[in-house]
Amino acid sequence: MDRPLIIGVFTNEHDIVGAVKETRASGYNIYDVYTPYAVHGLDEAMGLKPSRLTYVCFLFALLGLATAIVTQFWIGSIDWPLNVGGKPFNSLPAYLPVAFELTVLFGGLGVVFVMLFRSKLFPGKKERSIHPRVTDDRFVLVLEVSDAVTDENIVRSLWENYSVEEVSRMEEMA
């Protein structure tokens, strides 16, 4: 981010949702919103698209299912057939527990790693917080200054309806 940003700090979730709605309605570009916990209705207010991670999860789950079935089939029927209680070598009921486990394991781990990769997160990454109290009790709206028209004073007066606590300007996101 090399464009300057305007930061507004709010004290409760109703204010931030209202401010987000009105700021968007006035045609400004919202860079992001930081909240200490998940706020209901904020996604709709920001106009965020539903996450595509669900599809990733589904595909990984299918991969896990296929891995489990193919592996067990190959081991049990082709590579090393064992007679267990006179059952057929290729019997689906015996595959089910492992198939279930691997489906869940692949789906769960896959979606977590893809999420970390997509958000460029890794252990030990240094991340600067936008506001020291955003992980405590403050709600921060970050506005992108898209052109010269964006006037800090107008934005400030817009946010004052939602009892904004602090408005500041940041030249670039570190």
């Binding site: 209705g41 539903p50 669900t54 589904f58 209680g85 006179g86 059952k87 009921p93 015996a94 089910l96 527990p97």
Partner: protein, 396 residues
Amino acid sequence: MSKNAPAFILPGSVWKTIFVFSTLGLLVFIVGLFVSPERIWPNFLINEFFLLNLGLGAVFFIAVLYVSNAGWATAFRRVPEAATSVLLVAGIGAVVLIFGMHTLYEWSHETAVMMDPILRGKSAWLNQPFFIGRVVFYFALWIFFARIIVRNSLRQDEDGRLEHTVWNVRHSAIFLIVGTITFVLASIDMIMSLQPHWYSTVFSLITLSGMITSSLAAITILMVIVRLSGFKKIITEEHLHTMSNLLLSFSVFWVYMWVSQHMLIWYSNIPEETSYYIFRHFGGWGSLSFLNVVLNWLVPFLVLLPRASKRSDKILFQVSIVILVGHWLDLYIMVMPPLMGNEPTLGIWEIGMFVGMLALFFGFALRKLQSIPMVPVNDPYLVESLPEEERAVALK
């Protein structure tokens, strides 16, 4: 606080359809009693048990809401409350069922018990007077709890006292324990004892999960009907979404239980346990068992995964119908093989009675819904479950 809650009214054509189908079902039953009683009684048992599931599952649903102090469902709690009214019909059905005992249960014939050492050993539990007493006791207990919980909820509409909620939490807590135990026993008595030599500890969990899934499906259908007749602002897409989540998870729970029983019996391969699946694994019954898992788990699971279908009236309605048919098939596979022999039969008796039973259920539930206020206006949790625009109205 008083609010003019809108009334729920259905057009007369719907009533006509419901009346026609339920009368048809009743006719099929009565004619069948004379034409082929040995086929009509198992069908009666299936539909009687199904009706009981729909009514009792709704009581479980309400009780869980109360015990967990859940606020999300209060706006449409009248829907499951109305659904509990069929328990009375199911109670009458249970009395009728007693006349079919000899056709259904091998252990009810004294000569058969005398000849069979296993049945003789079980006769302390499986005998006629005790069976009749138990069934009457179960239904009396369920109807008692259902009526008292619904009555408290309706009284709160009038006097607005908070105590009604507190009492209902207590009644619900007791019901959840007593109701689960009695339902487990009832499914052993009414269904598992059809094959009195066979037993399975997971069996009641299959019927229990089937009961919850099918009654959730029925409640969802009722919700969609109510929504489409002008309650979209009160029963919102959020409510539908949560109901779909429950449907999805309980359908998975059902298949988990089904596999638990099937796989363990298949694995250990003990003759007295496999006797149940020997019937149901080959020929026509085998295909039906496969279809059972597809209808009750695979279809709801795949259809309800995407978010969009969880919030769509149409898709939810269709999936709920699939689950209801699937649950009927589940009971059909439990009841029919020991009584009707090696190949499944599907005819006017099966279809007619099933459709009649569903019509009876929806008729009673919808009629009850028309006669009571749709929104529990004085419930302390109502505000929590309404969408934001409606909250201001409710708080006035």
